[in-house]
């Protein structure tokens, strides 16, 4: 089984998406830095929250906790709160 997965990150107020390949061990609380480093969003002091399939992800959990075995791609939404910076 591959230990990385293609990740598509969607922003609530952007039409373009961020596509990247991440290890399945990537923690949810590392995603904001990845998004910021890619220039996709500016840092948000409170920290972004992320959603997969209508579930708010737990900060300390790994992507593997939300991805079925053998999956090749996962879509992650940035939780839409008014304070989210672009």
């Amino acid at each position: 089984m591959k230990d990385t997965i293609r990740v598509i990150i969607r922003h609530p107020r952007k039409s373009e998406v961020l596509v990247t390949e991440l290890p399945l061990t990537t923690k949810v609380n590392q995603l904001q830095q990845i998004v910021v480093d890619a220039g996709y969003a500016r840092p948000y002091v409170m920290g972004f929250k992320f959603i997969i399939s209508k579930h708010l992800l737990t900060d300390g959990a790994a992507l593997a906790n939300y991805v079925p075995e053998g999956a090749e791609e996962v879509v992650i939404d940035i939780f839409d709160i008014p304070e989210t910076t672009i």
Binding site: S53, K54, H55, T58, N65, Y66, V67, P68
Partner: protein, 348 residues
């Protein structure tokens, strides 16, 4: 993968959940709202019992069957099969208010009286008219739970709570195929260190089932046709009639075209391939003979699947609890065709 996430995304969100309650009563994360299973919030367990017990999560059907039933009894259409019988409760008081022949109530009553079980988990209709899981602790309790609601209640949540309490050591479970299968998944103890006292399950009586209906939809239908009279009983005659019969509390019989009922069938039930509840000691459904529906509706077909089921039926015969009627020629083949019909429809 987190279990609540797996179950929610692979079963609930895909509309495959029957609402049996197998995932409930074990933790605070799952519940029911109007017949729909709801994940209140995620837990961080990756091997949850909720996921392991769910009848809609993947499993090895053949391995599970061979673990609990004699492989020599296996029939392709009917599952484990030791014999088919046409029976009804001998006591008219048991038959009165029963869905058909009162066989399940009579068998459970006998099992309690003989000490084979000390409680039974089944459904009853509550004051609001909704079905609910119910732990019957006496013969009187069993009598209060006769009849079918045509809706799937989260009965197994009641079972899970009763098992956790560990008060009763010999609990019977009655339920449709989804519930019966989930009960055997519990008996298989996928997590031996957290088995929720599964050994306290003493008997499984499966109920033949074509489908379950949407709770609110059926209530609206009943209101439309029975109105203030209220519903005393509902039944589905053989398919050639293509009707649902509602009997009001005033004794009026109303025929509703099944075309009006079919849209209320839960999506999850359309994917179910098990009409006769193959994972059970005994399975019971409506009777079919050459005498016609008016006679047959007071009888039950009964499939014996295990040695335990055979022993209970024999005891019922000895004690005179059940009446037996000679099966019409071709009855087994007819039941096989019906079961295969549901399976083929589900697999389409």
């Amino acid at each position: 993968m987190f279990s609540t996430f797996a179950l929610d995304t692979q079963v609930i969100q895909k509309d495959l959940c029957t609402g049996c309650g197998a995932c409930q009563g074990l933790c605070p994360y799952w519940g029911t709202q109007d017949g729909r299973t709801v994940c209140f919030f995620d837990c961080e367990r990756t091997e949850g019992r909720c996921q392991s017990f769910c009848p809609r999560m993947p499993y090895d059907r053949e391995a599970l069957r061979n673990r609990f039933f004699d492989p020599a009894d296996y029939d392709e259409d009917l599952g484990p099969f030791k014999g088919l019988y046409l029976v009804r409760a001998k006591d008219p008081a048991v038959r009165e208010g029963a869905q058909h022949g009162g066989t399940v109530t009579a068998l459970l009553k006998l099992a309690i009286e003989e000490g084979l079980i000390d409680a039974a988990v089944l459904n009853r209709t509550n004051a609001a008219g909704d079905p609910e899981g119910f732990l019957a602790e006496s013969a009187e309790d069993l009598m209060a739970a006769r009849g079918s609601s045509f809706r799937i209640a989260p009965t197994l949540a009641t079972l899970n709570k009763a098992l956790a309490e560990d008060k009763y050591k010999k609990i019977a479970v009655t339920g449709t195929a989804c519930k019966a299968l989930a009960t055997y998944k519990m008996l298989a103890k996928p997590m031996p260190d957290r088995d929720n006292n599964a050994d306290n399950i003493a008997l499984v009586i499966g109920l033949f089932c074509g489908w379950g209906l949407d709770w609110d939809g059926l209530k609206a239908l009943a209101e439309k046709y029975a109105g203030a009279e209220g519903v005393a009983h509902m039944d589905i005659p053989p398919s050639k009639f293509h009707i649902l019969v509602i009997t009001t509390k005033a004794g009026r019989e109303i025929s509703v075209d099944l075309d009006e009922v079919n849209p209320l069938v839960r999506n999850a039930c359309k994917h179910c391939e098990d009409m006769t509840a193959e994972f059970a000691d005994i399975s019971v459904g409506s009777g079919r003979s050459a005498d016609g529906w008016e006679v047959d509706k007071g009888w039950n077909e009964l499939v014996v699947r295990s040695a335990k089921g055979a022993a209970l039926l024999e005891l019922a015969r000895e004690k005179g609890v059940l009446e037996f009627k000679v099966l019409p020629e071709g009855a087994v083949e007819k039941l096989k065709r019906a079961a295969a019909g549901k399976r083929n429809k589900a697999l389409k």
